[in-house]
């Protein structure tokens, strides 16, 4: 269950992962990287059974400071990740689905099957919308949603909440 605060385990694992990523940025060749990654893992494993939380927190703090001092100024970022070279690049081609309603009838006539099905789906959407909202209102805790994950449909014959946004989402890489 996700909460507002990170556990100690989460913090240590995040430090470990980002240390490995920056190590990968420094050690370009895989054999050298593997060697230093093993040394790093050994350093983390030395203190993994520490039961005293004060000492563990101090070790974590020292680790974060060492990471800050030794981080790579241009860490490797995957192209599709935030900060990467092709992040958000294709968002300009991701058109929302309501644009289809504004097509000219002659253009809609080129795809009769799809648009006839679309009318049925829109009616289905209108019918299920109130139930979706009711389910979300019932299931969302008072302080707001804890995660972005949507719940599945709970009752027989219901559709999952916000299914229309999911079904009509644009492709990851629009052609």
């Amino acid at each position: 269950m996700a909460a507002a605060y990170l556990t100690h385990q989460q913090k240590v694992l995040r430090l470990y992962k980002k240390s490995l990523r920056h190590l990968e940025s420094w050690c370009i060749f895989r054999d050298k990287y593997r060697f230093y990654a093993c040394l790093l893992r050994a350093r983390f494993d030395e203190n993994k059974n520490e039961k005293d939380m004060v000492k563990a927190t101090k070790l974590l703090k020292a680790g974060e400071e060492e990471f800050w001092a030794k981080q790579h100024p241009q860490p490797y970022i995957f192209p599709d990740s935030p900060g990467g070279t092709s992040y958000e690049r294709y968002n300009c081609y991701k058109v929302p689905e309501w644009v289809l309603d504004h097509w000219h009838p002659s253009e809609k006539a080129m795809y009769p099957d799809y648009f006839s099905k679309r009318e049925q789906w829109k009616k289905l959407r209108e019918k299920s919308w109130d139930k979706e909202v009711a389910q979300l209102q019932a299931e969302t805790p008072a302080g707001g949603p804890r995660t972005e994950a949507l719940p599945p449909a709970r009752k027989e014959g219901d559709l999952p909440p916000l299914w229309w946004q999911y079904v009509t989402r644009p492709k990851e890489r629009p052609a």
């Binding site: 370009i28 060749f29 192209p79 070279t85 958000e88 690049r89 294709y90 968002n91 081609y93």
Partner: protein, 611 residues
């Protein structure tokens, strides 16, 4: 011979018509045809290239140059503005080269941008850019040049921000516009100065009337314009950021054509500067500083496009050094040869990036010479030409520049910086080659890598031929206007070659060191180079913060506070309040005190009067 002039004029006008016609056909006809761009624009540029070869051959064979003035545009008292096209050595040589490079890039882009739904618009933008560039290059007056200048700036903005949904691309496009605008201030100042003092914007008249005047002010304006457009130190950060645009844009605009517009302006207006030692020294120092600084930045970059971008900036600095040496022909020769191999380097980098599914970091490349041999061979040829390997294109221009620099009695500091930059050019080129296609692959095994597509190999091969032959052809075909120094001691003649080999050797040793088991602790100069000299970090925060803070102070403190509080209603209120308070405080009901004071004063006056 008048018939030669007619042939020259006609063929050039035909070239322009071939280039401009697709813009109009796209307005008249709906370009919904998915291969409209290939049929119309790429073919138009190809035909325009072949048509522009005729003036080139005529010029080389007979030395014909001419100026075509055909439209009296406007007239303000004694000030005339005409549309006039100057076909001299510079424009006749540059236009075919620009068209050849553009043809290769458009053919490549027809493959690379095939899946883009707006490919027709993309090609149209590139064509409009090319027309603006040709306008700039063939302008015989400053007004027409300014139209081309602004045109290339605007198209650069539109093309860098092609993927407009990406925040970094929008930032980069704005950066390009703002930095270019700062440089344009210099150009506009120079235009105004020339209009008021030389009473003309026609180049011939300007050169004649400027002989007796002090030209420091307009020339500094022109150098500022070149600094902005050609990414010299101070106004350089936009060029690496411009790599956010698609690679055909980087290959055409930000390596071969647009960025050389600033240098081209200075070459065109060299008669105004050649007797001005202050201007020449400024160019020399600025160019030397730029070339070394950007080379140092290129040494530690990990994005392949950024390495090539900094390489471009470094070569532009070298061109500025050549202007400072009073060798405009050599600067122009370097512009022409540089166009070939730099465009080829960008296209090769795009093939590699596409093969690795948009991976641009050289730390995740490697072992590609088995997989894409043609591309890596072209990358090698381009890098060798960039380093000035004997008898490739770059050699004829770069070696001549270094020789001229060595033999001049100008600034030794500039010479030292330029030689160091030449050595480091070899270093970063080798570093790029080492990480990109030597050793073993460091990328995940993805879908098969294929370069066996005509649209990729044909442009690369054409540009490779250009890289190998262009320098030789240009040097053999045209005599330089200034005789070069032909006899010099061997150590001066071989300086460029020796320091390049030295840079290569040291870089190879250091590169081979990177996969040895030795912990690596970076030093401060590594951080200096990786963070691009801290220049963007400081400048992109300091100036906007200062100006916005100042404008906030002016708007809120100066205007609002002054008009409302210091001089306006609140001041009146406080003054009135203090007067009223003082007055009412004086009269506190101390009647006995007031009466006794009154009578005392009265008695004193009566007694004084009496006596």
């Amino acid at each position: 011979m008048p018939s030669l002039h007619i042939i020259l004029t006609t063929s050039f006008i035909i070239t322009l018509v071939i280039l401009i016609s697709p813009v109009f056909t796209s307005i008249l006809y709906k370009s919904l045809n998915p291969i409209w761009h290939t049929h119309h624009i790429k073919t138009a540029v190809k035909m325009a290239f072949f048509t522009s070869l005729l003036p080139l051959f005529l010029h080389v064979h007979t030395g014909t140059e001419l100026t075509i003035t055909n439209l009296h545009w406007m007239n303000i008292m004694t000030f005339d503005i005409n549309t006039s096209i100057k076909l001299d050595h510079l424009s006749i040589t540059f236009v075919p080269i620009a068209l050849y490079v553009t043809w290769a890039i458009l053919e490549f882009a027809s493959w690379y941008m095939k899946s883009d739904p707006n490919i027709n618009q993309f090609f149209k933008f590139l064509l409009i850019f090319l027309i603006a560039m040709v306008t700039l290059v063939t302008a015989n007056n400053m007004f027409q040049l300014f139209i081309g200048w602004e045109g290339v700036g605007i198209m650069s903005f539109l093309l860098i921000g092609w993927w407009w949904a990406r925040a970094d691309a929008n930032t980069a496009a704005l950066q390009a516009v703002l930095y270019n605008r700062v440089g344009d201030v210099g150009l506009i100042f120079a235009l105004g100065w020339m209009a008021t003092n030389l009473n003309s914007w026609e180049m011939q008249q300007m050169f004649i009337t400027a002989k007796s005047l002090d030209m420091n002010a307009p020339v500094i304006g022109l150098i500022l314009a070149a600094t902005g457009k050609s990414a010299q130190f101070g106004l350089h950060p936009w060029l690496p950021s411009a790599m956010e645009g698609p690679t055909p844009v980087s290959a055409l605009l930000h390596s071969s054509t647009m960025v050389v517009a600033g240098i081209f302006l200075l070459v065109r207006l060299m008669p105004l500067m050649q007797d001005n030692p202050f201007a020449l020294t400024t160019c020399l120092i600025l160019g030397a500083l730029t070339t070394l600084f950007t080379t140092i930045c290129a040494l530690t970059q990990n994005d392949i496009k950024k390495i090539i971008a900094f390489s471009t900036s470094s070569q532009l600095g070298l061109m500025m050094v050549t202007i400072g040496l009073n060798q405009p022909y050599l600067a122009f020769l370097h512009i022409c040869t540089h166009a070939f191999f730099k465009a080829m380097l960008f296209l090769c980098s795009r093939v590699i990036i596409h093969a690795l599914k948009n991976e641009q970091d050289i730390r995740k490349m490697g072992g590609l010479h088995y997989l894409i041999p043609t591309t890596t061979s072209c990358l090698t040829i381009g890098s060798l030409a960039l380093m000035g390997t004997p008898f490739l294109a770059g050699f004829f221009s770069k070696d001549a520049i270094i020789e001229a620099l060595n033999n001049s009695y100008l600034n030794a500091w500039a010479l030292a910086l330029t030689l160091l930059a030449t050595s480091l050019t070899a270093a970063y080129s080798l570093r790029m080659i080492f990480f990109v296609y030597m050793n073993f692959p460091r990328f995940p095994a993805l879908s098969p890598i294929n370069e066996n597509i005509k649209s990729i190999t044909n442009p690369l091969k054409r540009l490779a031929w250009g890289t190998i032959l262009a320098g030789l052809l240009m040097t053999c075909a045209v005599l330089p206007p200034k005789p070069p120094m032909l006899s010099m001691p061997p150590y001066i003649k071989l300086t460029a070659l020796v320091i390049t080999i030295l840079g290569l050797t040291i870089a190879l040793e250091l590169a081979l060191f990177t996969n040895k088991q030795r912990p690596y602790m970076p030093k401060q100069y590594f951080y200096f180079s990786t963070m691009l000299g801290y220049y963007p970090t400081i400048m992109h925060r300091f100036f906007p913060y200062t100006f916005l803070k100042l404008s906030q102070t002016i708007a809120s403190m100066t205007i609002d506070q002054t008009s409302l509080e210091k001089t306006g209603p609140k001041t009146i209120t406080s003054l009135n309040l203090s007067l009223a308070t003082t007055t009412s405080n004086i009269q506190k009901g101390m009647n006995k005190t007031f009466l006794s004071l009154f009578f005392t004063t009265l008695m004193i006056i009566i007694l004084l009067n009496y006596y």
